[in-house]
Amino acid sequence: MKSLEDLAEIRERTKALIQLKDGTYEKRVVVGMATCGISAGARPVFDTLKEEVESLGLSDKIEVTQTGCIGICQFEPVFEVYEAGKEGKVTYVKMDAEKAKKVAEEHLKNGNIVYEYTIGYTKL
């Protein structure tokens, strides 16, 4: 990279991609994979989401990616779903492979939020 223009170009391109505005992906799923998330079991959740999205044939439409600490230790493992054209996000908490599979089918594929697993409906 030689100039600020190069930097700005990468910025605009990636911004559109992760904000789901360039038509590449319809949904973005980010899994909290800091040390606390991983020790609470985020890895199998991440792997399951990847596998499910693949086997449902949604790999072209949905990006499953990792992120750092979302900041809510006692709810780990956590992942969040962003959708193109929609404000906000959905936060799924206390996940495991089984629940992740259900969210993949219900929410990622069919577009129905699985309320019982979201942050507001989960009792600790």
Binding site: C69, C73, V78, L124
Partner: protein, 501 residues
């Protein structure tokens, strides 16, 4: 499910609403292993701006004007550190990042490194430009393998993009970063110890002056800032000093990240504007104390800090207020304690830590902390006297005044602050030989409440020393001379008939 619509997004929860995420802005949003995603959040724009539009002095002026203070504990103005280093003429200077987060119960820096490593790398390059350094070191704990891995990836990607290395953005500015791994010595979080450790030595502190900005790493002018401090720098450059200094209190600007833990419903990482009260953090963000218990104290500043009692729960938190009430900001661990925690025991716990971590170089710290620990041990085992309390206080002040580095100078703080705010508890241990919170083993006794006891015999069967006697369906009793206070009976009792006092 209730009729009221519950939030489905973290952003709509009370835990999140009171927060203001600056240092953590990208954590939990971007993929830390992809530099493009960092760039999408305006990453490296600040570095581009300083290299093409600003002089080193204007960069330092901006940081000075923002009011940013070191987030690692002491709260020294960052801009002043940079100014000292800029003023010192030398053929070689260094920029260091203190990522040796050793406070037990604190994990702010780890979260930034794992969630947004480029923010630190970019800020270090900016600091390098500001003071005239071309080399940086990040000293990170070996206990943080994930953070190390992500830093390595991030440094590799930044080099590939030419954002580290030679002639960055086509200018004549060169900068590169080397990682160094701590090896588990708490004292290395102290800046001069950190430097001796980077040089490959036992991490012992050096006397200051000379300050690192004059004579630091390998004898050259050096600045050392904490991870969270760096995490604020890029935004100050992009959004301006005025924006930053509009947040917070008069003398403490911006936000502070706290690792909220202990007896609290919502454990987690929270970032709030300086000046937020403890009550807001504990009750609104933290969701209060679990199991209907009463808030007793909050510990900040780790082994260097103190306990804030309930009467100060409405104090706005900033550097100066915390010092005024006998604690300190520290790196941001915030441990909440309820009525079941014994303050003498907590003081002893922290002192045990410093005794262990004292590097041994100076006598007040090496021997003083051990003697102090022994006094606390005597108190918690029920053998303390009122004279011991006086000796304890004197010794604390002596260690504070005479230790070589920050570790020793602050080591007595947990004792002094608990003694000042919870003197009753110390007195109870010494005079009444009681531990009011029923923690200190030698001072408590187990008793059976006769009208709750159903005479099921479960307790007498589990007692390892046969101290419990009684017949079936009749209230039992504990022989206090035999009891070893293991608590097995209390765990076993289904009727809550056994209490410890």
């Amino acid at each position: 499910m209730t009729n009221v619509q519950q939030p489905v997004s973290l952003e709509d929860t009370p835990f999140y609403k009171k927060q203001l995420r600056l240092a953590l802005r990208n954590c939990g949003i971007i993929n830390p292993e992809k530099i493009d995603e960092y760039i999408a959040m305006d990453g490296y724009m600040a570095l581009g701006k300083v290299l093409t539009e600003m002089t080193p002095q204007t960069v330092v002026d901006t940081i000075l004007a923002s009011g940013l203070r070191g987030r690692g504990g002491g709260g020294f103005p960052t801009g002043r550190k940079w100014q000292f280093a800029l003023n010192n003429v030398s053929d070689k200077k260094y920029v260091c990042c203190n990522a040796d987060e050793g406070d037990p119960g604190a994990f702010m820096d780890r979260s930034v490194l794992e969630g947004d490593p480029h923010a630190v790398i970019e800020a270090m390059a900016i600091a390098g430009y500001a003071i005239g350094a071309d080399e940086g070191y990040i000293y990170v704990r070996a206990e943080y393998p994930t953070a190390i891995k992500r830093l390595e990836i991030a440094i590799g990607q930044a080099r590939e993009y030419g954002l580290l290395g030679k002639n960055i953005f086509g200018t004549d500015f060169n900068f590169d970063i080397t990682l160094r791994f701590g090896a588990g010595a708490f004292v290395c979080g102290e800046e001069t110890s950190l430097l001796t450790s980077i040089e490959g030595n036992r991490g012992e502190p050096r006397p200051r002056p000379p300050f690192p900005a004059v004579k630091g790493l390998f004898g050259k002018p050096t600045i050392i800032n904490n991870v969270e401090t760096y995490a604020n720098v890029c935004q100050i450059i992009l959004k301006g000093a005025e924006w930053f200094s509009s947040i917070g209190t008069e003398k403490s600007k911006g936000t502070k990240v706290f690792a909220l833990g202990g007896k609290i419903k919502n454990t987690g990482l929270v970032e709030v504007p300086m000046g937020t009260t403890l009550r807001e953090i504990i009750e609104e963000i933290g969701g209060g104390i679990p199991n209907g218990k009463k808030f007793k104290a909050a510990q900040t500043g780790g082994p260097s800090g103190g306990c804030i009692p309930a009467e100060f729960i409405d104090t706005p938190i900033d550097y100066d207020n915390l010092i005024a009430i006998g604690s300190m900001m520290g790196s941001g661990g915030l441990i909440v304690m309820d009525e079941d925690n014994c303050m003498v025991d907590i003081a002893k716990f922290f002192l045990d830590f410093t005794v262990d971590e004292s590097c041994g170089k100076c006598t007040p710290c090496r021997i003083g902390t051990r003697r102090l620990y022994e006094i606390l041990e005597k108190i918690t085992s029920g053998n303390g006297t009122l004279e011991d309390l006086d000796r304890m206080e004197n010794l604390c002040n002596y260690i504070k005044a005479n230790s070589l580095c920050g570790l020793g100078q602050t080591a007595p703080n947990p004792v002094l602050s608990t003694y000042k705010r919870f003197r009753d508890e110390y007195i109870a241990h010494v005079v009444d030989k009681k531990c009011p919170a029923a923690v200190c083993k030698s001072l408590l006794c187990y008793e059976i409440t006769a009208d709750k006891c159903k005479g099921c015999t479960a307790c007498s069967r589990v007692c390892p020393v046969g101290a419990i006697s009684g017949t079936v369906k009749n209230p039992h009793s504990i022989d206090k001379t035999k009891c070893i206070k293991c608590g097995a009976c209390m765990e076993r009792c289904k009727f809550g008939a056994i209490v410890k006092k």
